[in-house]
């Protein structure tokens, strides 16, 4: 099975750009004040997931932890 890709939870993202500045694949863009992952470019390295200060980035298909 392919590795899961990072996804930004739109309702949570506060648009600081942190994830964008550290993504080694340039896979994240700011679109209408929300970070958006381009799945095709993501290599599942987890850097953005760990970087997000409020936990707005998760793995595709994964249920949100509360």
């Amino acid at each position: 099975m392919a590795k899961p890709k990072a996804v930004v939870k739109k309702e949570k993202c506060l648009a600081c750009g942190g994830c964008i500045s550290v993504c080694p694949q340039d896979a994240i863009l700011m679109i209408s004040s929300k970070a958006v992952v381009n799945k095709g470019q993501c290599n599942s390295c987890s850097i953005c997931v760990k970087t997000c200060p409020i936990g707005a980035i998760n793995w595709e298909g994964k249920k949100d932890e509360i």
Binding site: L14, G18, S21, V22, K50, P53, G55
Partner: protein, 396 residues
């Protein structure tokens, strides 16, 4: 329409660059993807009083509170006070960054710069490999904007530089990932900006409390992204607030996230291109402060553009005057503080406590790196080994 320079980003770096270039007669356009300059505020809002020297802000509307100095609390709570009484220490302001940014933009417009909001640069416009301007989206339109110089003042994301082939991706080790509340209903009457250190408080960073008035303050945290886990910054900030009797009954007026580059400065000039502010990583790697550098570098960038327009030469050599200028003004300090950051990250909490203990009664009459290191080493000789690399740089 063709411009002398198109500036991507209407933050402090972009506005000040625009102002000084336009004042000298250059035709300038700033494109900003937001719908309102300076909003949302992504900042602790502390700035040195040195900002007054640049005469880029009128009136006082942008000032929330005047600060008498700073206090640093080591992991065990030992307090170091850096106050204005001692020579070399700076007083400062806590500002309203939205008004601050809008005032800087207003001044740029007043000198003749144009501003386009809701306009997002998506690539460089190139012809035969040469930079000729930018491609931008404006609502559902795609525009080509021609200019002799493109200025990347696009903040931490620094994509303009990337499009020009400059390596701007940050290592997690070089980014502070941040959350901040503006809390009201608190009891924090001090005229000091406070910083709290320690692995249990903020791994690889610090918690700050910057008062904006008697019962309002910005309370934020930055942790090093390489030590971060999903949502850790928010979790640690909430934990900190809960332990502070003066803060724990506070109610939030605002919550923001932030990303602050604490990297070595990068190449900031290419043919037909300049990077300014956070985009050029002009941020102090110890404090994370970038406002003063963005303003100072913006002035140099604007003046360099004006000269280039006069000569009608926009090659690397002509624009390099800007890089030489800012590297002489504060590039060495940034490098030294980058080395200091690496040393501090290596320190155990008890070493930080030892440092604080050496400095707590120290009268900062001569506020230089070298004099502080001397004071430290005199009291705790075991610190010598750790601080030697810094001492070499301070002497150089």
């Amino acid at each position: 329409m063709k411009y002398d320079a198109v500036i991507v980003g209407c933050g402090p770096a972009g506005s000040v660059t625009a102002r000084f270039a336009a004042e000298a007669g250059a035709k300038i356009l700033i494109v900003e993807r937001r719908a309102e300059v300076g909003v949302p505020v992504l900042c602790g809002e502390g700035v040195s009083q040195k900002v007054d020297h640049f005469k880029v802000l009128e009136g006082k509307r942008w000032i929330a509170a005047k600060m008498e100095g700073a206090r640093v609390f080591s992991p065990n709570g030992t307090k170091i006070t850096l106050s204005a009484e001692y020579a070399g220490n700076e007083t400062g302001y806590v500002v309203y960054r939205d008004i601050f940014d809008q005032e800087l933009a207003r001044e740029a417009a007043q000198k003749g710069a144009e501003i386009m909001l809701n306009t997002c640069a998506i690539d460089l416009l190139k012809k035969d490999g040469k930079i000729k301007g930018i491609i931008a989206t404006h609502f559902d339109e795609t525009l080509e904007i021609e200019a002799n110089v493109v200025v990347g003042a696009d903040g931490v994301e620094s994509r303009v530089g990337k499009w020009a082939g400059i390596q701007t991706t940050l290592k997690p080790y070089d980014l502070e990932t941040c959350v901040q509340y503006t809390l009201c209903n608190i009891d924090w009457g001090s005229p000091y900006c406070d910083f709290f250190l320690g692995k249990q408080v903020a791994p690889g960073g610090y918690v700050w409390v910057f008062p904006k008035g008697k019962d309002v303050a910005n309370v934020g945290i930055g942790i090093l992204a390489s030590l971060s886990e999903s949502g850790k910054a928010l979790h640690f900030l909430d934990k900190f607030i809960a332990t502070q009797p003066e803060l724990k009954n506070g109610e939030p007026l605002r919550v923001i996230t932030g990303a602050d580059p604490v990297a070595e400065p990068i190449q900031s000039v290419k043919d037909n291109l300049l990077l300014v502010g956070d985009a050029a990583r002009q941020v102090d790697p110890i404090t994370g402060g970038g406002l003063m550098h963005a303003i100072e570098a913006g002035k140099y960038a604007g003046e360099t553009i004006a000269k280039a327009v006069e000569k009608q030469r926009f090659d690397t050599q002509t624009l390099s005057e800007y890089e030489t200028w800012w590297k002489n003004a504060f590039g060495k300090k940034l490098h030294r503080n980058y080395v200091a950051k690496e040393i501090m990250l290596d320190m155990e909490d008890k070493t930080l406590d030892m440092l604080a203990d050496s400095l707590k009664d120290y009268k900062f009459e001569e506020f230089s790196t070298l004099s502080i290191i001397k004071a430290l080493v005199t009291k705790h000789p075991s610190l010598l080994v750790k601080l030697t690399p810094l001492m070499k740089l301070a002497r150089a």
